[in-house]
Symmetry: C2
């Protein structure tokens, strides 16, 4: 397979994965559904499990030598050159409460680095795909991050203060918060990275994300013109700590990282 052929094949598969997982999520959305608790006390349902299972099956059938890291069904072949990460339902709390902002996160990593990403919101009928040498598209239309020359003018979204550790993370976040124009917490789950990619807001910033959360947002935001790193400014890899900042305008990166790293 040529390199371009491989990329096109991966892009086609990403859409197949999003279609299949979205169909399962919507089948269970806003229906009475049993909510189980995982060992970390986070909720999980049959929709999470089945949506991931169908994606794993499609990946295995298409690329049997690729690795897979999924939130619900664990890891396989993670030493492979190409590894997929899957979060079938990011925002399970939204999902079980009938709020439509939950999303599915799909990424393909090459040698440990995010290479292709998809943020799919089936209940909103909105899908962002970027990477694999292709610019980011929302529902097939090209999107770009917006210019924002100084932090003073920036709008930032984050999930909530309860996700920041009380000591260093809260202080670091507070420094950044003071430097920007508007901060908004909550409710948007992975949607706020898509909002950065589409140029609706300037910054998304969170702490303690898992690989299957952040891997997908890197190509989506970067192939739209932005930059995504950890809080010390380093590129995100499989080994990152999960403290993530995504900026639509790369000119903000130095100043933001300086505030976050003290």
């Amino acid at each position: 397979m040529t390199q371009g052929g491989f990329a096109a094949h991966c892009l086609a598969l990403v859409h197949e994965l999003a279609d299949a997982s979205g169909k399962i999520a919507l089948r269970h959305f806003r229906t009475p559904i049993t909510v189980d608790e995982k060992s970390d006390a986070s909720p999980v349902t049959i929709a999470d499990r089945d949506a991931e299972a169908v994606m794993r099956e499609l990946i295995r059938r298409t690329f049997p030598d690729h690795g897979i890291i999924g939130e619900e069904h664990g890891n396989e072949n993670t030493g492979a050159e190409w590894v997929w990460t899957l979060d079938p339902i990011d925002g399970t709390v939204s999902f079980i409460n009938g709020a439509p902002l939950f999303g599915t996160l799909i990424a393909l990593l090459h040698q440990g680095k995010p290479w292709l990403g998809c943020i799919n919101h089936p209940a909103l009928n909105e899908r962002w795909v970027g990477g694999a040498s292709e610019p980011t598209r929302r529902n097939g239309e090209l999107v770009r991050t917006r210019p924002c020359a100084t932090l003073r003018n920036a709008t930032l979204y984050s999930t909530g203060p309860e996700y920041l550790s009380a000591d260093t993370q809260a202080a670091a976040f507070a420094r950044l918060e003071k430097a920007i124009k508007r901060r908004r917490f909550g409710g948007t789950d992975c949607y706020h990275y898509a909002m950065v990619a589409s140029g609706w807001i300037d910054i998304a910033c969170e702490a303690g994300l898992k690989l299957h959360d952040y891997a997908a947002v890197v190509p989506v935001v970067e192939a739209a013109g932005g930059i995504v790193t950890d809080w010390s400014g380093q590129p995100l890899t499989m080994a990152s700590d999960g403290d993530v900042i995504a900026l639509g305008d790369p000119r903000l990166h130095n100043a933001a990282v300086k505030l976050l790293s003290g």
Copy 2:
């Protein structure tokens, strides 16, 4: 006009108002738009102003003797037997940031009491209408609140801790929060009252709402089987303080109000 004819006329007008205001909101949504600041530092745009203006014009033309109270263009004829309240864009922060959860709130009050309400979310294509002796419908389909016999099993949504006064309100809310199963902050704007009406969650609770915020949610939630009062358990009127609790299952009301009022 017969009483039934008047109710049908009002219901038809509510849909006209939601159609017209929604069209204006979507015309400006996700476009570069000038954001002004009101005297209370809250943001406002031409979309708020124009969406309210078109609704006022439709009301005046249909019911010239009715009063109107709007967020952006003030009050007229508020001593009338029938008074409309309008919040053209509830969730202006979401609106200007491209997040689709903003909504339009429309209510008709009879002798100061909410009688007909509409929660319209144009970007989500979801509309709840209830009251005027009609049960609540979402996009034309009947909805019901869900049973929830004890606070222990209840899921509650609220906008955020920053909207509670640091002294008494925060303490009252904390008592309620401790008694329930799951509390979620933020991001959903007026959508969480619609979630109560549809039986997806059990409680929505907020402090310091304005008349044009809470008047619409009373009929929508109550005509779906729930109950909406102030924090002391009194019915909401034009003179209420705007501390609001909406419960899908009226059996929870006594216990919840007891906690809120200390």
